[in-house]
């Protein structure tokens, strides 16, 4: 560029700025005046050779009387757009009266008014009087106006003119000016809206899991949420813990001083503060490790002063609990402090856990309102573009105004620095990119380049099962130490969050909660993917107005998946019918299904459950395939995992979005193609196959199991129920089969499991404990449990009953499962007790007598039984009599004690007396005492 052109551009830019100011001032807006201070600073710095010129107003309110200062040359500037002598007068008066400003020997005015102005003699005299002896002020030189600035720039050297040219070009009056804020807000919101339209983001359904969202907040807005970390540390119960440790005679945990970091302001200092605080917490964690070896009722693993020994012995059970609480608390804080420091946040999680919802909700409700700069891209969209990733991003963001990604990153970093906030690039669903292995490399390169700019951060989400395999390179990259890898665990999803999630989904999909049984709802709460499928399968949303949702007493996974498939196919078929003119005679749905069958067929034949080559689908079916792809939830394009040499590097492949849904389809396919006369091909598929062969998943076995239980699949059931794969999943899947599809064979198998008296038996017993009697559950019921118990010894009793009622010892309290069972039973059943229908429950009570009992043979169940016996004596006598036929012995003293309390008829007394006399010799001391009591009581009552 020639010098003349540069000067011309400068003149244009200054003229443009001057014009804008005159318009804004006329309208009463003065915002640009503020910007002027920053915009003009570098221009004045170069023009008047003031290299240390700085904004005197940085960090708070207006500094009175001056805007820019150079402390090394003792020069101060007042910038004004008012062309009034009174403005100069007021400033001079204030300046000379201000002690702190006296160090500046020169005060210059930059009057950036629409037109130049001249000053009269009266004003000159007044100014001279004000400054006399205090400040050397020469209005001709010290009042700089627009024309003066243009003239002075013209007199500069070529390099300086070009420097000013470039500055102005990139400023808000130049051709290269980019309104970063407006572009970013627009980009992110557009993306969120797109996700809403495709149904991937359902506002109001997203439920915060405290840990993930809290970490995200810290990562995106470290300045603000560092304060919250400090608050949390100040609320820490460390003094309470230390008081307890001191009483125990244990060493104290080191204190943490968080308050000293309250005034941290700059991003660099913030990162350092977070690091220091993390170190202090790590020291606390290290000190607390000492308590890990403490065990209840055991000698301490370290010396305890004699004066504390008694307290220690009584409270040692609590030391480990306090240690765990302290460590969990410290781990939470450390994780948040990591979010302050790290620059790449990777959120992984299984399908259906709500990653997209989290990101969209976060951008929409957190980032945008906070004006946090960010840009939002999805893996799926990035997969549709060709060419360089960085190039695409900078073009997308700045519409070609930046020459390279680096230039864009620099602008973003500077913009973020001005705002004291990081700039966050969001890449959601990186695993959904169509060329994953290539993308993984590009991503690494892009992040590496961008992190050179201090304020840039990245926020990725990825399905956990793909992350290590396909994006593991990031964990080995040059920026590996900057990564914060977060996988929210399902168990962290508390009851409260689950309830909200269920409510949110039900509302959005218009599911009537009254039609879904309470137990079914509680089942759905624990399986997010199933919940989503369920809502899509049964909800009123998107259905005709006359749709009536059926009552849902139980959740049957296979049934939900079947309905989900039907609904997805309907949607794809509708799309096809709307857009295609000539439909095949079989109908759109049949055509779409045959595409699915083709893909599944390939998977089964080749034992390859992912990355099916695109070429497997014949060209004639491509149109249908695109309709299925359009649904996005059903099928997707992906790239073969790196290292798969059977595919060309650029080959397109097909995968199912949800692995569980794929398993369902494979099972469906296998059962449909099963021929009972030639079961060999099926057997070969289900069997483990050759060494090194891909094993079929647990999911396929489960769905095969469900399908085998359908009434019209009897032939298949006869064959499959004899296979080892059937037994492998029988427990617990049998309890998810519709009640009407169960049979006597199931009861036999379940009983066999109970008789094994192992961990599995405990689980099954637990399920049966909460199922009703035979009347409601013909095969797998409470009676089955009681019958199996009746034949068993004390060991079977321990495994099936006692292990299901073990009290849990927590930090602050202990749970009482038997007491809780009694509470629930008393509330839900006792008021409506029917002696015939509910007999198994009362019989169960005789088995539960010993739980949480005291030495006087009192227990929560015994107390409740007395109440029932008072109301229904015949029922009580019957179940007590039967309880004496049970083989195990642990409950017997309780039964004899309660029998002694009853008013029995003479026949029963005679019968029991014979039994009592026979048992007396072999009975335990406790039982013998109660038998004697019974004999004495019954003898007395007969007299």
């Amino acid at each position: 560029m020639t010098l003349g052109k540069a000067l011309e551009d400068i003149s244009k830019a200054l003229g443009h700025l001057r014009h804008q100011i005159s318009l804004e001032n006329a309208a009463g807006y003065f915002s640009k005046n503020k910007i002027l201070e920053n915009l003009l600073l570098p221009v004045l710095s170069i023009t008047y050779d003031l290299p240390h010129l700085r904004n005197a107003n940085v960090g708070g309110s207006n500094a009175p009387f001056v805007d820019l200062v150079d402390d090394s040359k003792n020069v101060a500037f007042q910038i004004t757009t008012e062309r009034k002598a009174s403005k100069i007068t007021e400033t001079l008066e204030g300046f000379v009266a201000s002690k702190p400003l006296q160090k500046y020997k020169t005060l210059r005015f930059f009057v950036f008014a629409p037109t130049d102005f001249s000053f009269n003699k009266t004003s000159l005299d007044k100014w001279s009087k004000i400054c006399k002896g205090k400040l050397v002020f020469n209005p001709t030189d010290d009042i700089v106006q627009f024309t003066d600035l243009s003239r002075d720039i013209c007199n500069l050297s070529g390099p300086k003119v070009r420097e000013i040219h470039d500055l102005l070009a990139q400023s808000l009056v130049g051709e290269e000016w980019i309104d970063v804020r407006a572009l970013l807000v627009d980009q992110a919101i557009t993306q969120v809206n797109r996700e809403k339209e495709t149904g991937k983001y359902i506002p109001d359904v997203f439920v915060e899991t405290t840990s993930t969202k809290a970490l995200s907040r810290v990562f995106w807005h470290p300045h603000l949420f560092f304060g919250e970390i400090l608050d949390s540390i100040s609320r820490c119960r460390l003094p309470v813990w230390n008081k307890f440790f001191a009483k125990c005679g244990l060493p104290l945990l080191p204190p943490i001083d968080a308050e000293k970091f309250r005034s941290v302001a700059s991003p660099e200092k913030l990162a350092k503060a977070a690091q220091q605080l993390e170190q202090e917490l790590l020291q606390m964690v290290a000190a607390s490790q000492l308590f890990e070896g403490v065990k209840d009722l055991c000698s301490p693993p370290f010396p305890i002063p004699p004066e504390n020994r008694d307290f220690y012995d009584h409270n040692s059970w609590n030391v480990r609990s306090v240690f765990r609480v302290a460590q969990e608390w410290a781990d939470d804080q450390i994780q948040k402090l990591n979010a302050v420091q790290r620059r790449v946040f990777i959120l992984t999680g299984k399908a259906g856990q709500g990653k997209t919802n989290l990101v969209c909700d976060f951008v929409e409700r957190f980032s945008v309102p906070h004006e946090l700069p960010c840009a939002y891209f999805t893996g799926l969209q990035l997969g549709r573009i060709s060419g360089d990733l960085g190039e695409h991003i900078q073009r997308n963001l700045f519409q070609g105004k930046t020459p390279t990604f680096q230039a864009a990153a620099k602008i973003l970093s500077n913009y973020a620095a001005e705002r004291k906030q990081p700039f966050v690039f969001v890449f959601e669903g990186i695993n959904e990119h169509s060329r994953v292995s290539q993308f993984a490399g590009e991503l690494e390169e892009l992040v590496s380049a961008a992190l050179k700019f201090p304020n840039i951060r990245f926020y990725f989400t990825c399905r956990s099962e793909y992350f290590v395999e396909r994006f593991g390179n990031l964990l080995k990259s040059s920026f590996k130490k900057e990564i914060l890898l977060v996988e929210p665990r399902q168990q962290y999803f508390g009851d409260f969050a689950r309830d909200r999630l269920l409510d949110g989904y039900f509302k959005y999909f218009e599911v009537d909660p009254k039609k879904v049984d309470e137990q079914a709802q509680s089942f759905l709460k624990n399986d997010t993917l199933l919940l989503r499928f369920f809502c899509e399968a049964y909800g009123k949303r998107g259905r005709p107005a006359d749709y009536e949702m059926p009552d849902i007493p139980h959740i049957y996974r296979a049934q939900v998946f079947e309905l989900y498939l039907a609904k997805k196919l309907d949607a794809a078929a509708d799309n096809k019918n709307r857009t295609v003119q000539h439909l095949s005679p079989l109908g759109s749905k049949a055509d779409l299904l045959s595409v699915i069958r083709t893909v599944i067929g390939y998977m089964v034949t080749n034992r390859q459950f992912a990355d099916v080559p695109f070429s497997v689908v014949p060209e004639a079916m491509h149109a249908d395939l695109w309709f299925l792809l359009g649904e996005e939830i059903l099928l997707r394009r992906d790239l073969a995992a790196s290292g798969d040499i059977s595919l060309a590097p650029s080959a397109e492949v097909l995968n199912f979005v949800y692995d569980e849904f794929r398993d369902f389809l494979i099972a469906k396919y296998l059962v449909q193609t099963f021929d009972p006369k030639t079961p060999d091909s099926f057997a070969a598929f289900v069997a483990s196959g050759e060494a090194g062969a891909v094993q079929i998943s647990e999911g396929i076995k489960r769905f095969l199991f469900y399908t085998s239980r359908l009434p019209d699949k009897l032939d298949f059931w006869k064959y499959y129920s004899q296979q080892p794969a059937y037994d492998e999943v029988f427990i617990p899947e049998i309890f998810f089969v519709a009640e009407e599809h169960l049979n006597a064979d199931d009861a036999v198998r379940v009983r066999a499991v109970l008789e094994n008296a192992d961990q599995n038996a405990t689980r099954v017993a637990n399920i049966l404990l909460w199922r009703g009697p035979r009347e409601s559950f013909p095969f797998l019921n409470l009676d089955l449990l009681i019958d199996t118990l009746a034949d068993g010894d004390d060991e079977r009793y321990r495994v099936l009953i006692r292990n299901n009622f073990l009290p849990y010892h927590g930090f602050d309290d202990r749970s009482h499962p038997a007491e809780e069972w009694v509470e629930e039973f008393e509330e839900d059943l006792v008021p409506y007790l029917n002696p015939t229908r509910h007999e198994p429950y009362v019989q169960l009570m005789t088995v539960l007598f010993p739980l949480e009992s005291e030495s006087d043979l009192e227990s929560p169940v015994v107390r409740l039984f007395r109440k029932i016996a008072a109301k229904f004596p015949a029922l009580a006598h019957k179940v007590l009599r039967r309880a004496l036929e049970f083989r195990f012995a642990v409950h017997r003293p309780f039964v004899w004690r309660l029998l002694a309390e009853q008013n029995l008829d003479t026949t029963m007394i005679a019968d029991l007396t014979t039994l009592a006399e026979g048992e007396l010799e072999s009975a335990s001391v406790e039982t013998a005492t109660e038998i004697r009591r019974f004999i004495l009581k019954s003898t007395a009552s007969c007299k």
Binding site: E208, T210, L224, F225, G227, E228, D231, R235, C236, R237, V240, R365, F366, P369, H370, G494, D495, F496, D812, D813, H816, E819
Partner: protein, 130 residues
């Protein structure tokens, strides 16, 4: 006003925060006694180791959640009966304290009365919501 939430926590709406001395006075116990120690322990649990949701909202969440009720609803299990009134309470009460019922106030199975429900209104000088 005091509300018990489903997660064994308490939401207390207070116009002012008592001093430790005031708290002891309300309990009618002396500072250097066993009862005094217990009451001060409760004071710490309620006012030192707890969260003032109002303050937390004002400092960190006001922009993210335009209404206090949205914030409160997202962070804790607010009883449905209080939710419609909570924005109004936010204007009226300077302290919205959220704390877990300390284990020593938990209802014992054998006890006829609910200790926390009996003690907290007296010590916090407010009513128990019905």
């Amino acid at each position: 006003m005091i509300y018990f939430t489903a997660s064994n926590a308490v939401l207390a709406f207070l116009k002012s925060m008592p001093t430790r001395e005031e708290f002891l006075r309300r309990a009618g116990v002396r500072e250097n006694s066993y009862a005094g120690e217990l009451v001060l322990k409760l004071y710490d649990d309620v006012f030192v180791y707890s969260k003032n949701l109002r303050e937390e909202y004002r400092k960190y969440y006001k922009i993210e959640y335009p209404k206090f009720s949205d914030f409160a609803d997202s962070v804790s299990s607010i009883p449905p009966s209080v939710l419609p009134k909570i924005d109004n309470y936010f204007k009226r009460y300077a302290f919205i304290i959220h704390f877990v019922v300390p284990y020593y106030l938990e209802e014992n199975s054998g006890s006829e009365t609910d200790t926390a429900a009996e003690i907290l209104p007296v010590l916090l000088n407010t009513k128990l919501a019905k």
